[in-house]
Symmetry: D2
Subunit: 353 residues, 4 copies
């Protein structure tokens, strides 16, 4: 494609030694159900704290499907989607000091300015100048290039020789499962935990819960209303009627959250990860005296450095979550696969440039 552009260029242009690419391919959202893998302007540095990153590997998140379904009408038509990936620094703004052209980086799904009151307390998700904006409020990673604001705080370095496939999981799902599920759920050695939901984030919670060596991990994967009674009974019987120490909700539906209310032990923790579109019923008439905690959280990605160390030292292998691999140019096919995750037995699809 770039060749074509250059071929059509005037002789004057040809004389320029290094012709800069000025367009790229990207996945553009137009409206619910309408997307296109198409030519777009290549992003450029806008602020001195920006970096432009060439995407090496990216993926598709359940949230991207929500956007495609129209669940997030705030997403503008023409937006490039995607908030996960690893890449190579193409260019940095004048204030960026942690990275330089050629560095390999993990792109965090959460943009952090590092200097607002929320960032200073490690709550990057609520960054006054960032938060989750990538592939949502600003153009994202399902493209050949992406502009990353506040690059020093929003990118993480990848040393030579690291397994970059595994590190794509560090953009979002691993910190999400770990922070919102495992840390908020206060998993401790010897605990019993239930993970309600077996999608990528539920599996990431399962993987990272192992950091704290629970005794037993139950999965409640195919919960439907008719089966609910059984899931509760089964978990209760497996825990001598006590329920689980930690219940991690990784679905986002009233039925699955309310299941967590029923299986939680006295003194236990319900850690919500799911993105909920509706309110749920909180049975305080049963729970007021049960000494439980319920937490919500948008991932802060504040544990990315910790998670990176565990991946580098092979203590977890997040690569196992990748079920399908595509070329970056096969983006539409990859979406099709992920949209039929159950049929395709897909957890995470990987797209490589």
């Amino acid at each position: 494609m770039e060749d074509l552009i250059i071929d059509k260029a005037s002789p004057a242009t040809r004389t320029i030694a290094a012709v800069k690419k000025s367009t790229m391919k990207a996945l553009v959202y137009y409206a619910p159900g309408k997307k296109s893998w198409q030519e777009q302007p290549k992003p450029v540095i806008k602020e001195t704290t920006d970096a432009v990153v060439k995407i090496l590997k990216t993926t598709i998140c359940g949230t991207d499907l929500h956007i495609m379904k129209g669940d997030m009408p705030e997403v503008a038509s023409g937006r490039i989607l995607g908030h996960e990936g690893v890449g190579i620094i193409e260019e940095v703004g004048s204030s960026v000091s942690n990275f330089k052209k050629g560095d390999h980086v993990i792109i965090s799904c959460v943009t952090s300015c590092g200097k607002c009151s929320f960032c200073k307390k490690g709550m990057y998700s609520h960054c006054e100048n960032g938060g989750w904006i990538l592939g949502y409020m600003i153009d994202g990673c399902q493209a050949e290039y992406v502009r990353i604001p506040y690059a020093d705080n929003s990118l993480y370095p990848i040393p030579a020789g690291a397994d970059e496939e595994a590190l794509v999981m560090l953009s979002d799902i691993l910190p999400t499962g770990f922070e919102c599920g495992v840390l908020n759920g206060q998993v401790k050695p010897g605990d019993t935990i239930a993970i309600v939901g077996a999608g990528p984030v539920g599996m990431a919670a399962l993987l990272t819960s192992q950091f704290y060596t629970p005794a037993e991990t139950f999965g409640a994967t195919h919960i439907i209303n008719s089966a609910k009674e059984n899931a509760i009974e089964k978990i209760k019987s497996l825990t001598d009627g006590k329920g689980v120490d930690t219940a991690i909700e990784a679905v986002g539906l009233p039925a699955t959250f309310e299941l967590c209310e029923e299986i939680i032990a006295a003194g236990g923790h319900i850690a919500n990860i799911g993105v909920h579109g509706k309110s749920v019923v909180l049975h305080l008439e049963k729970l007021w005296d049960r000494n439980i905690s319920i937490t919500t959280r948008l991932v802060d990605t504040v544990t990315t450095p910790m998670l990176f160390k565990t991946v580098q030292s092979k203590r977890i292998e997040p690569k196992k979550l990748i079920t399908h691999r595509f070329k970056l140019d096969e983006m539409i096919k990859a979406y099709d696969t992920f949209e039929h995750a159950a049929r395709e037995k897909a957890l995470k699809v990987l797209l490589e440039n």
Copy 2:
């Protein structure tokens, strides 16, 4: 009264130097709305770990009113109510080693065996052999004498010269406000907190929140549906639209809990103290990404020693919560006053023997 009994005794009995009282006066619950201040058998040691305590001062709790209203049908007819008080040890079982006859003690509302798995982790409220049973499952403190199981763990010593009126507040409301409200609400220096509910437990939360030096404490005291909007708006405007760091629910109604959901800041904590009879609506569609915690707790009274030290060193004056004083024999009158707390401007009523 006891004199009369002795007067009527046979000469043989009269020869016994110290005739033991075998009956006492107590507040007996019969049925919703039916109670009596009447002669009852004086309690005796049943287990080697028991103590019998002569009540010096006791009080009436909102929970007692709930029982009287019939909200707790599990309470047996004939039960002596009351779970708060200070007294003098009358007799101890053979295994009791922390106390002896004549010691002054605080009676904890929660009975703790000290040797089950819950007690070992400081969760006395769920003690497998105790928990909240006093004046509920076993006879309680609104009487001249009370039997306290597991006395070594369920009573706290009062040194000579302590202000015993203040210490009655340590039986229940101070640890309840502190543990369920302040500790679970993670109050920190400089925080803004809202206490929803201005009854005795809400006031206890207010008093003990001062241990952690919040910057601002808002009270939402007269919340009714029609006024709800205003309370929210007012708190939001007082916090620059952010909401409060900690919201303590000390009422037990859906409207007040849901108010807490609306005024909580991102990263904040809703600490429920209220006894709820109905489920509430949890707006996860608004809260899932707000990084909040919601906690429930039946008081463990695990902080009683800490609270005792703060009272002894005059760092708080819980005595201020006492609005009315009665003789123990005026129990029915005290109930009448407390049942009309709003009219009588009553917070805590104190009954003295």
Copy 3:
């Protein structure tokens, strides 16, 4: 042996249907270097909270060797040593409710009354009525029977089918390595840790540190003065000059503690486990601005239930620490082996009844 005694008994005694054994074999300490495996009176219930336990398996601790060397002159001549073991309840006092004759139990090295101020805050090591007394201030476990005070709080139940060899490690070394080393050392996923000392407790720290998934664990096992420089250099070079996040001292010598001071990273934690006989030099002139913590701790055994769950669920295999097995009657031989641990390559020796 018991039969012989009975045979010699007078006819009057013979008429008793069930002649109770009244003596047992035990390891008695007399003076530094002087011990004997000999007949002793079998222990009896002294307090209502006592249990007498028949030893099934026991072991020898480094501390026992210290006593034998005379490092602990406070140990009385005639004392039965040993503070580790599993056994069967032989008899319980009238107040014991958690156990009954025939129950299999883990004996905790720390005796906890469950009702003093230290026990109530989980600091059993400083129990006002117990602490470490077994095989030290009172007769211990290197015997056929042992009396355990405060049995409800100082014993832990073993369900049928559990691996009792592994559970002997729960009496002391596993909670010691875990509480004093791993918990106090605040080991976190991805951390680098150094364990200085490769004896049984150091190995227990190594095993239990895995609960928190450190990235790298270094061992400094054969540290002698001449080699000290190299150990420091090696660890520094392995950590890019930063030092380790957690250094666990499991020896008890000035040289090894001071080694920890040199290898600790800024923000790191030195967790002392070693029993020290001398003061050490604390280089505050280097450390005052390094944001480190140093902790000391006598094991509280407050994590025994947690550790039990991890052993039961096969998350750790403490049995691997057992290098030698003996019959209980081979006690002297077992001591000889353990006294020459280096030569014998012994970590833990197991004695079975």
Copy 4:
């Protein structure tokens, strides 16, 4: 002064409408014992993340006296001292977004880049690009103007109407006393604490310890070797022989640190604040089984926002620490007063522009 310079300028210079001041007065350190209040070049923006701040109020720290005594030979001759103050933003670099010319700010003694691994975990003291450099490695605040690197992270906004005298205490001594002493010392409601050292930082620890409502606070202010025995005895007798829950060392000498070792209760915390020039003796032979923690810390100033809120809400009045007030031009006189703090009964001296 500036006028003189302009007066001497050539007519060409005079034609410039707004002649920028290019020099200022500053306290310059030359060598141990040699300093001068003299004309220096006014600082200018060097990096896009810098701000130049006009000093409104500043002060002198004990550390400045250490530098003057030659205890810190790493300080270059010609260095402007001072790391505390409030001021007005004079100019900001192009990347600074939190502040603009005219904003009133607190200058933190610790410079934080906000984007290195230490800053990301709130350990600003060890910032790879900052830390304590102000008035030490780079020119400081005892001047009319100061350049502040990483202004967005190293300055804190002062709203209109705030008491700026009080806020000078937030540059260093309040966070130092609070973070290194109170937080590291884990002060809790009802605790007993001893603050060893009654200089400004000790007093700041005293003030901020009140945030957590200790029961008793002991001060050991005039400790000399001969008096040491008495201090220990007195504190022991005041605590029923137990010692204190928290001992805060705010002197920096072996004798005072070792005093803390003697007065600490089992389970207690020794929090070192003092700057030590020599090693101390750590009596592990007494402390190994006492379950204590010892911490060191260079202030991170990570609590400045929290402290600010407590000052704004009048929960503490750090202004009380100011004993002497001078004009900025009286710098030498102020040094003279502070160098004779005992004689002058000086805690903090304030210099105002």
